[in-house]
């Protein structure tokens, strides 16, 4: 774990050094006149913010996947109680907005004795919100697995649990992956809100940079492009890769 953390930190500082090297000749006076000057002055903050956004997204993805799997399967459970709990969770988190949930977790939970730091409150809120949307995706995918698969598992005398684990869920994963691609982009966009409870993510940094420089188009333009690049160059290709990997074993005409 320690090795991973130190690797992560060294990657982060390597990017900063690289950025500083590329902008080596640029001198920063008090006023910012050009884009290289802007980058030379605020590049470090942008890199920090980007990494914070990536951290928050990654942790939120973990929360979302766990919640979506649990409540998506719960939604098709035979037990009415479990179905009711899952439906309540899904409707609650899909029915209110992410900002409300974020503020509720951050400001109201302390009232009940559960104090969360901004950092965990941020990714937990985003993860819970997107987990509810994901649960509907999981439910849809489970129901889209052909009926014959259920019957075959039944004929082989599998218990419902074993049937779900070995037959239904692996096939459902392949069906749900394209929808998850969109959902993960929504999640990335959702993490932009954690800046409102003072997590120092990209959005938070952009506000800070703006208040220091008043260079709106440089600041927010750069931040928008960073978000776009994360979505298009990290999330979409990795989902495509996962899709082709997983569907290779499932040849269905």
């Amino acid at each position: 774990m320690g090795a991973i953390v130190s690797l992560y930190e060294s990657v982060q500082s390597a990017i900063k050094v690289l950025l500083a090297g590329m902008l080596g000749g640029v001198e920063v006076a008090g006023r910012i006149d050009s884009y290289p000057e802007f980058l030379a002055k605020f590049g470090d903050r942008l890199v920090d913010g980007t990494f914070m956004t990536l951290e928050q997204s990654l942790l939120a993805i973990l929360v979302a996947v766990v919640m979506a799997t649990a409540f998506g399967i719960g939604r098709v459970s035979n037990s009415m109680l479990i179905r009711a709990i899952s439906t309540t969770y899904i409707e609650f988190f899909r029915g209110t907005s992410l900002i409300v949930q974020l503020f509720w977790i951050f400001y109201v939970l302390p009232f009940f004795g559960l104090v969360l730091e901004p950092y965990p409150a941020g990714f937990v809120a985003v993860g819970l919100n997107l987990g509810a949307y994901g649960a509907e995706v999981v439910r849809g995918a489970i129901q889209a697995v052909p009926r014959g698969q259920y019957e075959a598992a039944y004929a082989l005398n599998m218990s419902p649990r074993l049937r779900m684990r070995r037959i239904i869920f692996p096939q459902a994963i392949v069906i749900m992956l394209p929808a998850w691609g969109n959902l993960l982009i929504e999640l990335l966009k959702g993490t932009a809100l954690v800046g409102l409870i003072s997590v120092t993510d990209l959005m938070f940094q952009s506000r800070q940079i703006y208040s220091l420089s008043y260079a709106a188009i440089e600041t927010f333009g750069t931040v928008l492009i960073i978000y776009y690049l994360i979505a298009r160059l990290v999330i979409t290709p990795s989902m495509r890769l996962l899709e082709s990997r997983l569907s290779k074993n499932l040849k269905r005409s």
């Binding site: 209110t96 907005s97 900002i99 409300v100 009232f111 932009a192 776009y228």
Partner: protein, 261 residues
């Protein structure tokens, strides 16, 4: 109805806390404007001071929803049609623009629209900037819905229009668009609720919608519990029935047009 609800909350607020301790009622009158209950709801609506209450802010939220959605519906149609023109390059540019809007966060877009204007000497009010940003963002989403719906109309319909020598405008607005509507309705309904749930983001530039007022009330008394809970409940109370209503509307339109599932 309004009187009784507000009275109820003001009494509960006066008596006890959720911990069962006696507290002064400072939050609840602020939420529903109890001071106005003697005058009735209509009088309360006319008073500008009401916009400092949660109930007045709900009105602002709804105005933002309908303005934003109106912009999104029209601009979204432009985006959708812009991807069906004869020029491949133009289609590609519009497509990339829509993709860009769709995969970047709305909050940053709101900041961008609000703060970039002054740099070029154009100062936008929070409302104008907010409506522009949210309208454009949802226009990108709606254009995807429209695009799918337009593609779902059988190609024979467009060919028939050419055979009948209808003008491009008449065939689009008279033949293709009405038939695409039932395909577009489910997606449009989802994004109406989506825009409602995204209006709190307007608080970052100071539009006095519900969440902005809620945080103001919360920070004034340093008590967020009731305000945040009530805001959450208002969101639930509006979005869940709206979702159910939209599903009804959708099946009604399908039935009216003689489409069976």
């Amino acid at each position: 109805m309004f009187n009784s609800i507000s009275d109820y909350f003001s009494q509960v607020g006066e008596r006890l806390d959720w911990n069962g301790e006696l507290v002064q009622c400072v939050v609840f009158p602020k939420l529903f404007g109890t001071a106005y209950t003697d005058l009735g709801f209509a009088a309360a609506c006319k008073d500008p001071a009401l916009s400092n209450t949660l109930f007045g802010a709900l009105g602002n939220t709804l105005i933002a929803v309908f303005l934003g959605y109106g912009i999104a519906m029209i601009v979204g149609l432009m985006f959708a049609v812009g991807q069906r023109t004869k020029s491949k390059i133009f289609n590609r540019i519009v497509r990339e623009f829509v993709e860009f809007i769709r995969s970047t966060p709305l909050v940053v877009q709101i900041f961008f629209v609000f703060f970039v204007g002054p740099q070029f000497g154009i100062t936008l009010s929070p409302w104008v900037a907010g409506m522009t940003a949210i309208g454009l963002h949802y226009a990108a989403y709606l254009s995807e819905v429209y695009r799918g719906a337009l593609n779902a109309v059988p190609a024979g319909q467009a060919e028939a229009c050419i055979a009948l020598n209808l003008s491009a405008r008449r065939s689009f607005f008279g033949i293709i668009l009405p038939q695409a509507l039932p395909f577009a309705l489910p997606g449009m309904g989802n994004y109406l609720i989506g825009i409602f749930k995204d209006t709190p983001m307007l608080m970052v530039i100071g539009v006095a919608e519900m969440m902005h007022v809620a945080t103001a009330i919360g920070s004034e008394y340093w008590r967020y519990t009731e305000v945040m809970t009530i805001v959450g409940l208002i969101f639930l109370a509006l979005s869940l029935p709206t979702a159910a209503l939209l599903r009804l509307l959708e099946s009604f339109v399908r039935w009216k047009l003689g489409m069976t599932r």
